[in-house]
């Protein structure tokens, strides 16, 4: 049963709990949806203690009813299946480029962010002459100019993941305005704006240490987005570690998600051969496929050939790169594989 977001948060044993141990190591590759964001760690007196690494999707969830601790580290994407769905929408290769750009920005901005944090702590503590305030303004202006340079020298790479650098420059400047006017002294939080989860969270966060230790990585960016309407209930036909195949009823098709490679393609071939027993065709939805190698395509073709003359596999939502791979591999026009073009699919 698929639960709505609110119900998820209140359920015991919340399925949107982040399952990975934190803090995340530098080359963390356990979760394919991981999107590292650097943040400044501070103690309860707002003295900086260094940087740590959180995930863009990590936030704080509130558990009730039998939970020993009220708060837990919550993945804004949801559970494992929803993380995979996000990755299938964004595409793994784009997520990799987004991750690399964020890592570069974190590296570039780390010193600035620490200076800003320290300058603002001094300015807030200062009562009287505007010296500390002026120094904060200068530090901020320097950071903004350097950030503009960072972004403008990477226009093509940001465009490659559909982020317009002018928009980012505008957002950074808007953040700086809000940040300058922030009055609360106790726990400064540099909130990245909510909104389109595909935009980068460019900015690090400052989190009091006590909270960071207690909850793993403290407050995330709150970039949770209401996912599209939950898909209809599906009957699972195959669920290995990395590949799932489920039967959808309306429209009738096999929904494949995860990775098709040497570890999983034999299972897929067996399943498809069984579906095609007696001939005819089968509809496959590959929109959730994160990776498919040539052996995977071969498994699909084998199943169709074993089923005999005129058996076909009709593919819906074939990922663009897989379509490219099929063409480059020399399988363009192979009769057993039909690509269905669906408007708005």
């Amino acid at each position: 049963m698929i639960l709505g977001r609110l119900e998820r948060e209140n359920a015991a044993g919340s399925t949107d709990r982040c399952p990975w141990p934190r803090p995340f190591p530098a080359d963390f590759g356990g979760c394919p949806a991981f999107q590292p964001v650097d943040f400044v760690v501070a103690d309860s007196l707002n003295r900086t203690l260094g940087s740590s690494r959180t995930c863009r999707h990590l936030s704080v969830g509130a558990g009730t009813n039998g939970h020993s601790s009220r708060y837990y580290a919550r993945c804004a994407l949801g559970d494992t299946a929803q993380r995979r769905r996000w990755l299938a929408e964004v595409r793994p290769e784009r997520a990799a480029v987004m991750r690399a750009l964020q890592e570069e920005f974190d590296e570039f901005s780390r010193t600035y962010r620490h200076e800003l944090f320290a300058a603002r702590t001094r300015a807030l503590a200062d009562s009287g002459d505007g010296d500390a305030r002026a120094r904060l303004d200068t530090t901020l202006a320097g950071f903004l100019a350097a950030t503009r340079g960072f972004l403008e020298s990477r226009v093509a790479r940001f465009a490659d993941v559909d982020v317009a650098v002018e928009d980012l420059v505008g957002r950074v400047e808007g953040w700086a305005d809000a940040w300058q006017q922030e009055g609360a002294p106790a726990s400064p939080q540099l909130q990245a704006p909510d909104g389109d989860p595909e935009q980068l969270s460019l900015l690090g966060r400052a989190v009091p240490l006590r909270e960071a230790l207690h909850h793993g990585n403290g407050n995330g960016n709150g970039n949770g987005h209401a996912h599209d309407a939950a898909p209809p209930a599906l009957e699972p036909l195959l669920a290995t570690g990395t590949l799932r195949v489920e039967r959808g009823a309306d429209p009738p098709r096999l929904v494949v998600s995860g990775e098709i490679d040497a570890a999983t393609s034999a299972d897929l071939e067996r399943l498809l051969a069984a579906e095609l027993a007696g001939g005819g065709s089968v509809d496959l939805d590959l929109g959730g496929v994160l990776f498919c190698d040539l052996g995977g395509v071969r498994a699909i073709l084998h199943a169709a050939r074993r089923a005999g003359c005129c058996s076909r596999v009709v593919v819906h939502a074939m990922p663009a790169h897989l379509r490219r791979a099929v063409r480059l591999a020399g399988w363009e026009g192979v009769p057993e594989l039909v690509l269905a073009e669906e408007a708005g699919a």
């Binding site: 793994p92 990799a96 480029v97 990775e259 190698d293 071969r298 480059l328 020399g330």
Partner: protein
């Protein structure tokens, strides 16, 4: 200067040594004009600049339907794609005409790695067309702009050499050569390395993806390299002893990913044989040559190394 075309009873692979652009136009132009007179079908695969000069030189002859031009930068940026292009052209040509081709894969702008692969391509041409339909392929080499060692090596990969109107068997040619033993240079700079077995393909793809993006590849090229590395690693699982080692690093123009295993590749043309639709036709190495800008393949009883190059755009 016209020559009498030698009667063709076998594939004739000939190097044309010329000096400078005018020398090219004279030598290639004469070859084409002779072909037009004989009623041959012709395909000229050279740079667009050379194509323009030939068109000027040939005048109305350049518009003969039997004569076609193609841009070598498109056909053969990756030299492993050149043999399949010629094979497709020869296969599709009707039987009534003799065939002539000109192909210039080596120009002075090629990187050292590309140059070695071009030379391997030239050697493999002899194997690819031996025993098949006779045709005449002329490979121009510019003695004015190329390293003399490159020109000398052309004598070892071409059974015939033509220069200033004279066609001669090449004294340097010693029969069909299959494998280039040229070892691969060690990478300079930082290298990320891992090893893999049957359970490790997911982690291998994650590593290649992460590093390729960090080195600045676009999303599409990241996906190209991940798929190519996965294909080569999967070959290692099946034919290379069940696993292998992977290294990835960046160079000036490209990201390079290397896979090593204990296996031996038996067929020298394995990476440039067009597979067709049959699902069981081998196509992993073919596909990596379509995905990547250069693939360096070295195999011996000691094992196999494949290096995949994908350019930053």
């Amino acid at each position: 200067m016209t020559e009498v075309a030698p009667a063709l009873d076998a594939f004739r692979h000939e190097a044309l040594l010329y000096a400078g652009e005018d020398g090219f136009v004279e030598g290639a132009g004469a070859f084409i004009r002779d072909g037009l007179e004989a009623g041959d079908a012709m395909l000229v695969v050279v740079s667009t600049a050379r194509i323009d000069r030939l068109r000027q030189h040939l005048g109305s002859g350049a518009r003969e339907p039997a004569l076609r031009f193609a841009d070598m930068a498109e056909v053969g940026a990756n030299p492993a794609r050149i043999i399949p292009a010629w094979q497709a052209w020869v296969k599709d040509a009707g039987p009534e005409r003799s065939l002539r081709g000109i192909g210039e894969p080596i120009w002075s702008g090629r990187s050292p790695d590309e140059l070695v692969e071009c030379e391997r391509h030239e050697a493999l041409l002899n194997l690819a067309f031996e025993g098949g339909r006779p045709w005449w392929l002329l490979c121009p080499y510019d003695t004015a702009s190329l390293d003399p060692a490159v020109v000398e090596r052309a004598r070892t990969t071409h059974p015939h050499v033509g220069a200033e109107g004279a066609h001669q068997p090449s004294e340097g040619y010693h029969g069909v050569s299959t494998w280039f033993e040229q070892p691969l240079p060690e990478p300079r700079g930082a290298v990320v390395a891992t090893s893999f077995d049957a359970a490790g393909l997911g982690a291998l793809r994650a590593l290649v993806s992460r590093q390729a993006a960090r080195y600045g590849l676009s999303a599409r090229r990241v996906a190209d390299l991940v798929l190519a590395a996965n294909e080569v690693a999967t070959n290692s699982l099946r034919h290379g002893g069940g696993g292998g080692g992977l290294r990835i690093w960046q160079e000036d123009a490209a990201v390079v990913c290397e896979v090593r295993d204990q296996g031996v590749i038996a067929s020298p043309l394995a990476d440039r044989t067009a597979p067709g639709h049959d699902p069981d036709a081998p196509r992993g190495l073919w596909t990596v040559n379509q995905l990547c800008d250069l693939v360096q393949l070295r195999t011996s009883p000691a094992g196999t190394v494949v290096r995949l190059h994908v350019r930053r755009q």
